[in-house]
């Protein structure tokens, strides 16, 4: 039994006088204890909305959420707001992309960290302050007692992200959702934060749902990777399997379009044509078909199902997967 089991999650935004827009269109994945699961995709693929839906942070009006998301046997989507509030912060925690806008600018860091300790762990006064200093120290913020009195703007970007992580792990949550935790940071700071996340997962056995657009980050961190496109998972595999044999034309194309630091110079990149706006509804066929190099008329007849073309656990939603090409290259 997985710690978090998401089945056919869908999120549709509705507005008067406009067509419904479906951001997440049937996403399913499992996260086990101590596992790092990645949701990868470009902007507009529904990865952030997925995380907000799981945390119950979507607005109540104008949003239709469907499917199931069971955390430890309890459905998060149908849970009462009061119960969900108890869960958030203590069992489930989230790290956001932009650390400056996720921290309250007019409240010192210390108050923001102790708030969680008071709410969920019942610590008060000096004890809470001491624990807060411990937490900051643990995520690698030097001189934590001084930092507790400072405001978010006095901290550097990397330090703010560390403070957010400290708040997220304050109650030793069982599931940590990190939504693009390093996107706003420089590479050297990114490396520090990724090491910190890795360490937390290793030590505490926390499950981590990593949401990112950066395949490089995924390659170093995630056990299981789900590639999303237009609100659906198009490929799901262990990281080694995925990077060695990307099978969905989108995943394949994505890897082909990244300039690699270790690649020899002069080789042109092989980008995917068009943009995310060139897509069709999943109900009519494969949403990626208009951009796909491999598409046939078959792609336009109904939603393709997730199938297992290769190794166990490697699932692909495609009727014309990129199978023969890598093999031909190997034999040639």
């Amino acid at each position: 039994m997985a710690l978090l089991s998401v089945e056919e999650l869908s999120v549709t935004f509705t507005a008067k006088g406009r067509k419904d827009s479906t951001a997440v269109d049937g996403v399913s994945f499992d996260v086990d204890q101590g596992q790092v699961v990645g949701l990868v995709g470009e902007s507009g693929c529904g990865k952030s909305v997925t995380s907000l839906a799981l945390m119950g942070l979507l607005p109540g009006k104008g949003v239709k959420v469907g499917g199931r998301a069971e955390f430890d046997g309890k459905d998060l989507l149908s849970m009462s707001p009061r119960k969900l509030r108890d869960m958030r912060g203590s069992q489930l925690a989230m790290i956001f992309q932009d650390p400056l806008s996720s921290l309250n600018p007019v409240v010192p860091i210390g108050v923001q960290v102790t708030e969680i300790l008071e709410r969920h762990r019942g610590l008060k006064g000096e004890a809470a302050r001491k624990e807060a200093a411990n937490l900051l120290d643990r995520v690698g913020i030097p001189d934590p007692t001084r930092r507790l009195k400072e405001y978010p703007h006095q901290l550097s970007g990397g330090m703010r992200q560390r403070a957010l992580i400290a708040m997220a792990v304050a109650c030793a949550p069982r599931l940590l959702i990190a939504d693009e935790p390093t996107t706003a940071l420089d590479v050297t700071i990114q490396a520090q934060i990724l090491e910190l996340l890795k360490e937390l997962v290793d030590q505490e056995g926390t499950a981590l749902l990593m949401i990112t657009h950066d395949l490089g980050v995924v390659a170093g961190l995630c056990d299981q990777v789900n590639v999303l496109y237009a609100g659906r998972a198009v490929e799901s595999a262990g990281r080694r399997e995925l990077f060695a044999h990307p099978t969905h034309p989108y995943a394949h194309g994505l890897l082909g379009s990244i300039p690699r630091l270790d690649a020899p110079r002069g080789e042109p990149l092989s980008p995917i044509r068009g943009s995310i706006n060139d897509r069709i509804a999943w109900a009519d066929g494969c949403a990626f078909a208009p951009r796909c190099d491999y598409y046939t008329m078959e792609c336009l007849t109904g939603t393709p199902e997730l199938t297992e073309p290769r190794a166990a656990g490697h699932q692909v939603r495609c009727v014309n997967p990129v199978l023969p090409k890598p093999k031909a290259e190997v034999s040639a």
Binding site: D137, G140, D186, I189, L254, R260, L261, D262, S270, R273
Partner: protein, 461 residues
């Protein structure tokens, strides 16, 4: 003679205080003495993290910001000393592509108006009809439909907007295009389209690029020569392949080792140098070598004397006093990095299972680690203090770890601790006050004094 030559360019922004007298109380040294040469038909990549001054330098070349000192020689003319009106005419030949394609296009002008404005200003084309024909040619070159002419920026996707930005530069038939983060606002799949477009255009039109970007992989992909900037000055400059094959400056080494590669095989083997802390403020840059506050190899001389960019052969230039020593491996580390851990772990791995206990004496201050442990496991600090005094005793002190869960990664923790211990006995390493080091997992194990490292491994074990 290079097409574009920068000689000791400085851009300092005054910091003012007070209302009435507007005193200048200091300067932000955004660009502080950069010299570089861009050859015709080539691409010079300028790379660095946010705040290193790379964008200011690019804007300084076009005189979009005032240059405090230095020369910008373009095709034999020093742009820095040109009167404003003459400079305006020179800007036809030096164009810029900006980072944010939406922010740099006027939302109330259609594409034809955006593209023809510059042409009219510089007197290209007799009338609007002739300009329109020229614009259509360029639109085809950058891969936009001709019906784009009457449309407005918001109707385009991010990638298309960036193509419009490139087209705006191209219609003036420039010699040099300065691309400031040309692809960082775009999605990966679209990013590749724009990179390929830039390369095709360079080939077909013989353009010279100065590409400014933070993404080392992108810069390496398109540049012939790369300059690495740190806090307002170049620390290393080399041909693209040479820089990748053998970075010589410690900052470049760290930067390159921090870039994730989308390949698990590479990721698992990658040696990392984790820098500690953040970029110092350019308003108050460190004396001597700007990097010495974070450099893993920093020596006394680095704090006193600022190194100059010197050629070490084959056009590879580096600004470091000790580049050769670091290369030869004769310089001892003064701060923890990931490098040593990789090799030394193997050597001490033999110490085996009880090695993780010895990590505790490696902590320098008795109080902090004790506090830390109290957080996870109820340890009395007296025990920790006792341990801190003698490492020999500590080895025997097994119960410390008794309640820690035995995990799969225990061997790694053991190695780390063992190594920390080994070093603690022999090495004379100043205290690492920055606990970042401890977060570096096994990589950072060569920091015996880093209390975080010790405490973490104690917990892991």
């Amino acid at each position: 003679m290079s097409l574009l030559e920068l000689d000791d360019v400085k851009v300092h922004f005054p910091v003012r205080k007070g209302v009435l007298f507007n005193r200048t109380v200091g300067h932000v040294y955004a660009v502080d003495g950069v010299s570089l040469k861009v050859e015709a038909g080539q691409t010079y990549g300028l790379v660095g993290e946010s705040g290193c001054g790379k964008t200011t330098l690019g804007r300084g070349v076009l005189r979009l910001v005032d240059i405090t000192d230095g020369e910008v020689v373009f095709d034999g003319t020093d742009l820095a000393k040109l009167p404003e009106e003459e400079m305006r005419r020179y800007r036809r030949r030096l164009q810029m592509v900006f980072q944010d394609p939406l922010g740099s296009l006027n939302p109330r002008q259609n594409i034809e108006s955006i593209l023809s404005e510059g042409m009219a200003a510089h007197g290209i084309g007799k009338d609007q009809d002739e300009r329109r024909e020229r614009i259509k040619e360029i639109l085809a070159k950058v891969g936009l439909p001709t019906n784009a002419l009457s449309r407005y920026p918001h109707e385009f996707s991010g990638g298309q907007r960036q193509r419009i930005g490139i087209a705006r530069a191209l219609v003036l038939e420039p010699d040099v295009i300065i691309c400031d983060e040309p692809v960082s606002a775009l999605d990966v799949s679209v990013q590749a389209q724009v990179i390929n477009l830039l390369e095709e255009l360079q080939e077909s039109m013989g353009l010279t690029y100065l590409v400014i970007a933070h993404d080392l992989a992108v810069v390496r992909h398109i540049s012939d020569v790369i300059g690495v900037m740190y806090l307002g000055s170049l620390v290393e400059e080399a041909p693209s392949d040479a820089l990748y094959a053998g970075p010589k400056h410690p900052y470049t080494k760290a930067l390159m080792s921090a870039v994730p590669v989308p390949d698990p095989e590479v990721e698992d083997r990658r040696e990392r140098i984790l820098l500690q802390g953040d970029l110092p403020s350019p308003a108050n840059p460190p004396a001597g070598c700007r990097f010495h506050t974070r450099c893993p190899w920093a020596q006394d001389r680095c704090a006193a004397e600022r190194p100059v960019l010197t050629d070490v052969g084959d056009g590879h230039k580096v600004a470091c006093h000790f580049a050769a020593e670091i290369e030869a491996g004769t310089l001892e580390l003064t701060r923890p990095t990931g490098i040593e851990a990789v090799t030394e772990t193997k050597a001490v791995a033999a110490e085996g299972p009880d090695a993780d206990k010895v990590a505790i004496p490696a902590q320098s201050s008795g109080d902090q680690p004790a506090e830390k442990k109290a957080e996870k496991q109820e340890q009395d600090s007296a025990e920790a203090d006792a341990l801190a005094k003698a490492d020999a005793l500590a080895k025997a002190d097994a119960p410390v770890e008794a309640d820690a869960p035995a995990k799969a990664e225990a061997p790694a923790g053991a190695d780390e601790a063992a190594e920390a211990d080994a070093l603690a006995k022999t090495d004379d390493v100043p205290p690492a006050d920055d606990a970042d080091a401890g977060k570096a997992d096994a990589d950072d194990a060569d920091a015996p004094e880093s209390d975080a490292s010790g405490a973490e491994s104690a917990k892991t074990g």
